[in-house]
């Protein structure tokens, strides 16, 4: 006769504890995301540190609404969001002396550098991806180039920033004729004389290229060979089939990769901070110093206090919302445009 041997209870316990633990560890990720949004949001609404959330703290933010407190709410020090409201987005002054803060300049800088960078990086990256998926070069060489592009993604952004500072003078001589000949365009309106927005965009291009190239190459590689054969079989040339068949078939990946790159560009900090000049004066010209939200944070957070800290967190919150939306869009686009092949 067989006797049904029960699993030892210890083993069961270990099993259950292990499963629980992985679930808890997994929740840490979501908790962190929540914590980041909460913390940044909190600091943007209130001055003072997170410990003022604790009710027994003398600086507690609860004292205003606490039932045992019938004094006024003088203890609560409101931060940038209550102070500046949505006007923060449209105000271009960043003035610690008058405690007047607005994020228009860094918002403009963030959007402009990212847009310029994408404008250059998308054709370059997709072009390279095509070059690497076509049979122009032997497979070995293509793999090597692909690996080199991946390496470029691994170079720390601060190193690229240092390199950009060393290359600055060379690029200024390229920018200068643009100003002298096309200076009537607002974008070229100022004399290039030092760190500037255009340079920051260029360094962003260098950082975005590996992402766009790698993602585009992968999605082009995933287009079934039958589609290319189909295009060739009706007499399409190489580039007709690339533009009319292969790229449309890979578009979800390409657009997704571009959005991913945009997310990176919006939040990229070090290289941009080192080369953009960190000016908070609004200027339409690409050749004048400017700032992005991320560079503003890196540059000012160390010396800021009181309401300025809160204003910086407000700007950080804007940056987070922006990148969050871009990343969500990326995921939706990839899902929407994804073609179904079996």
């Amino acid at each position: 006769m067989f006797t049904h041997k029960k699993r030892p209870w210890a083993e069961k316990l270990v099993d259950r504890a292990f499963i629980r633990m992985t679930a808890i560890l997994a929740s840490v990720v979501s908790l962190t995301v929540f914590g980041i949004f909460f913390t940044v949001g909190f600091q943007a609404v209130f001055q003072g540190d997170l410990s003022s959330l604790l009710p027994w703290n003398p600086d507690s933010i609860w004292q205003g609404i606490a039932p045992w407190n019938d004094e006024e709410t003088f203890g609560v020090r409101w931060g940038a969001i209550p102070h500046f409201g949505l006007g923060f987005l449209a105000n271009s002054s960043w003035n610690p002396v008058r405690s007047d803060y607005g994020a228009l300049t860094p918002i403009y800088g963030t959007l402009m550098t990212s847009a310029l960078a994408l404008l250059l990086a998308v054709p370059l990256g997709v072009g390279t991806a095509i070059f690497l998926t076509e049979d122009f070069l032997p497979q070995k060489l293509r793999t090597t180039i692909g690996f080199m592009v991946e390496l470029l993604a691994a170079i720390p952004s601060v190193v690229l920033g240092l390199w950009a500072m060393a290359m600055l003078n060379g690029f200024l001589t390229v920018f200068t004729p643009l100003h002298t000949h096309l200076g009537w365009l607002p974008f070229f309106g100022t004399e290039p004389g030092g760190p500037n927005l255009a340079m920051a965009s260029l360094i962003l291009v260098v950082m975005l290229l590996p992402i766009i190239t790698a993602v585009s190459r992968d999605s082009l590689n995933q287009v079934p060979i039958e589609l290319r054969q189909g295009a060739y079989a009706i007499g399409a040339t190489r580039w007709t089939s690339i533009f009319q068949v292969l790229i449309p078939a890979a578009i979800s990946g390409i657009v997704g990769g571009t959005m991913l790159a945009l997310g990176r560009a919006l939040g990229e900090t070090m290289a941009v901070t080192m080369i953009i000049g960190n000016s908070t004066n609004l200027s339409a010209s690409w050749f004048s110093p400017s700032s992005t939200i991320a560079s503003l944070l890196a540059n000012q957070f160390g010396e800021a206090d009181d309401i300025q800290v809160s204003a910086l967190y407000y700007a950080a919150l804007l940056l987070m919302i922006l990148t969050f939306l871009v990343n969500i869009c990326a995921q939706v686009i990839v899902k929407r445009l994804a073609l179904k092949y079996d």
Binding site: A26, A166, G267, A298
Partner: protein, 303 residues
């Protein structure tokens, strides 16, 4: 039956170099080649520049001395920053690897579907998109400003936590994807002989997926070692050696190579700038090695 004109029967099979489509194709070929060169060019110049400017500054003293005071040119070292990078990345790895691998196991092995897993996956994706400077601000507000770590503010520990937040999504994703590559038969086989889930996952599935996970972790650590933005307001910087005797080794402001590049690179003093290049050299060499190592790991497991 149809009114379509057929122009082909008149022309020959031969390649006509002047046909518009052929001209257009050759132009596009050229353009694509040009673009590829433009893409590879920055990589090559960056590496050459770093090797040239940084390689020259590498002396034994770099590893054993402290940096000079601004304006002086002696001693020329950054031993503290090298140790600091190791400390900060070490803390980050110690925090992020268990959490990340555990989270990855949960996603791949425990809850493959269901709203909670979806929710966690979403969280991973969002976290992966959070700008690195924000990770720094988050840890600043959470740890540095509240002095939650034994009353200390800026510290290697705080820096490590900020880097851990940054590494976390990478590690979760590589673990999740690595585990998915393990064949289902292996799991069923192990469970079938009566092994518990704990034993199956830790003794059978995880070892089978160790190479892709290790690859991802190595790359994640290498990338974290080069990160600057999360450190400037958490680990801060320090011109001194870490002070182990007072017990504040990990709890004091700490120099790291990446922050040193930023701080020294924008200084007007030549020795400092040279040290920035030296730090770049060490970081880049380290990262290249990590990438080659991970390639080698991947190839090893493929064969």
């Amino acid at each position: 039956m149809t009114t379509i004109q057929h122009p082909l029967t008149t022309s020959g099979l031969n390649y006509n170099p002047y046909a518009p489509r052929n001209v257009w194709n050759r132009a596009m070929n050229l353009l694509a080649a040009l673009f590829s060169i433009l893409v590879v060019l920055p990589l090559i110049t960056v590496i050459l520049y770093v090797l040239y400017k940084g390689g020259g500054a590498i002396t034994p003293a770099i590893f054993t001395e402290l940096p000079p005071a601004p304006g002086l040119s002696e001693p020329m070292g950054m031993g503290n920053a090298i140790i600091g990078t190791a400390m900060v990345t070490g803390v980050a790895a110690l925090v992020a690897i268990p959490v990340g691998v555990g989270g990855g196991i949960y996603l791949a092995e425990v809850a493959k579907k269901g709203w909670f897993a979806q929710f966690i996956r979403f969280g991973v994706n969002v976290l992966a998109g959070v700008p690195s400077i924000i990770c720094g601000l988050f840890i600043y507000a959470l740890v540095v400003n509240t002095r939650i770590l034994w009353g200390e503010s800026f510290s290697a520990m705080a820096g490590g936590l900020a880097l851990a937040v940054l590494m976390l999504p990478t590690i979760v994703k590589t673990t999740d994807e690595g585990l998915k590559l393990v064949s289902q038969e292996l799991r069923i086989g192990s469970l079938g002989i009566g092994a518990s889930r704990f034993v199956t996952i830790t003794r059978v599935v995880l070892p089978a997926a160790i190479s892709p996970i290790a690859t991802g972790v190595v790359l994640g650590i290498a990338r974290a070692a080069g990160e600057t933005a999360p450190l400037i307001f958490t680990a801060l910087f320090s011109p001194f050696w870490p002070d182990w005797s007072s017990g504040l080794g990990l709890l004091a402001p700490t120099a790291t190579m990446s922050v040193q590049i930023y701080n020294f690179g924008i200084m007007p003093f030549a020795p400092q700038v040279q040290l920035a290049w030296a730090a770049s050299f060490i970081l880049v060499v380290m990262i290249l090695m990590a990438n080659l190592l991970s390639r080698w790991l991947a190839r090893l497991s493929a064969s």
